[in-house]
C-alpha cells in the first residue's frame, strides 16, 4: 500500500513539473521546473531500488544539466529583463502527436504481458560497478573518448571568435553590414 502511495506522489509530481517545463512562459521557470522533474525522478529511482543511480541523477545530472541550461539562458538572452520568454506555437499538432504517441505506447503496454510484482531486490552498488567495468569496459573507454571530443569541440565552437583570424577592420564591417542590408531590401 505504501509503495502505491509513494508511486502516486512521485507520478503526480513528475507529471506536473514536466507539464510546467513545456508550458511555462518564462524560460528560467522552465529550467527550474525541469530541475524539479529530475529530482523527482531520482526519488522514483529510489523507489525502484537504484540508490546509486539516484545519487548520480541528483549530483551530476540535475546539477550539471540545470547549471548548463541556466548558463545557456543567460548567455543568449537579448534584454536585461529576467523574464525570458519561452513561447510556444502550433501547439495543436504537437498536442495531437503527443497524445497519439502516448496512446500508442499505452496500447502496446496493455497488449504486452508484464510482471505484476517486482522480485525482491538482491543487487548492490559494488556489483553494478563490476558490471560497468567488466563487460562494458570497452563502451566505457569509448565513452571517455566521446566526452573528450565533445568537450574540446564545444569549447572551440562556443569560443568568442576564431583566435587565428584577424577581426576585419571597422570599415570592412560597416561595408558588410551595408551590403547585407541591401541584400535584405
Amino acid at each position: 500500500m505504501i509503495d502505491r502511495i509513494a508511486f502516486g506522489v512521485v507520478a503526480l509530481l513528475l507529471l506536473l513539473s514536466a507539464l510546467r517545463v513545456v508550458t511555462s512562459k518564462n524560460l528560467v521557470h522552465s529550467v527550474l521546473w525541469l530541475g524539479l522533474t529530475l529530482v523527482t525522478t531520482a526519488g522514483a529511482y529510489l523507489l525502484l531500488s537504484a540508490p546509486f543511480i539516484a545519487s548520480i541523477q541528483i549530483l551530476l545530472y540535475t546539477g550539471g544539466v540545470i547549471t548548463l541550461m541556466l548558463f545557456g539562458v543567460m548567455l543568449t538572452r537579448r534584454g536585461e529583463d529576467i523574464a525570458i520568454p519561452n513561447e510556444s506555437s502550433e501547439g495543436g499538432r504537437a498536442l495531437i502527436l503527443s497524445l497519439a504517441t502516448f496512446g500508442l505506447f499505452t496500447g502496446a503496454v496493455l497488449k504486452t504481458p508484464l510482471p505484476q510484482e517486482a522480485p525482491p531486490f538482491t543487487g548492490s552498488t559494488a556489483e553494478l560497478g563490476r558490471e560497468i567495468l567488466g563487460p562494458n569496459l570497452m563502451a566505457f573507454e569509448v565513452l571517455s573518448v566521446l566526452l573528450l571530443a565533445a568537450m574540446v569541440g564545444a569549447i572551440v565552437i562556443a569560443r568568442r571568435r576564431d583566435p587565428g583570424s584577424q577581426r576585419p577592420s571597422l570599415g570592412l564591417r560597416i561595408e558588410a553590414e551595408a551590403k547585407s542590408q541591401e541584400g535584405k531590401s
Binding site: S30, S49, A50, M69, S98, T101, A150
Partner: protein, 100 residues
C-alpha cells in the same frame, strides 16, 4: 505495483517532452524538452531492470546519462554560436535561411 504503471508513467513523461519539442519556439526550450524525454527513457530503463532483478537497466542508464550530458553541452555550444552570429534570441522557427 505492476511494471505497467511505471512504463505508462514513463510514456506520459516522454509524450509531454515530445509536446515540448514540437511546440517550443526557442532552442533552449526544445533542449529542455529533449531532456524530459531522455529522463523518461532512463526511468524506463530502471523500471525494466528492477522488475527483472538485474543491473542491466542501471548500467544502460549510466551510459545514457553521460551521452545526454555530452549532447546538452554540444547543443548549448551551438545555441551560443547561433546567438552570436544572428545576434538575437534563438527562436528556431526564425532560423530558416536554408530551405527549399
Amino acid at each position: 505495483m505492476p511494471l505497467a504503471a511505471w512504463v505508462i508513467l514513463a510514456a506520459a513523461l516522454f509524450s509531454i517532452g515530445l509536446y515540448g519539442v514540437t511546440s517550443r519556439r526557442g532552442a533552449i526550450g526544445i533542449l529542455l524538452s529533449v531532456e524530459l524525454m531522455a529522463n523518461a527513457v532512463n526511468l524506463l530503463f530502471i523500471s525494466f531492470g528492477r522488475y527483472r532483478g538485474d543491473h542491466l537497466g542501471q548500467v544502460f542508464t549510466l551510459f545514457a546519462v553521460a551521452l545526454t550530458v555530452a549532447e546538452v553541452v554540444i547543443g548549448l555550444a551551438l545555441v551560443i554560436l547561433l546567438h552570436r552570429v544572428r545576434r538575437s534570441d534563438v527562436r528556431v522557427d526564425e532560423v530558416k535561411e536554408l530551405h527549399g
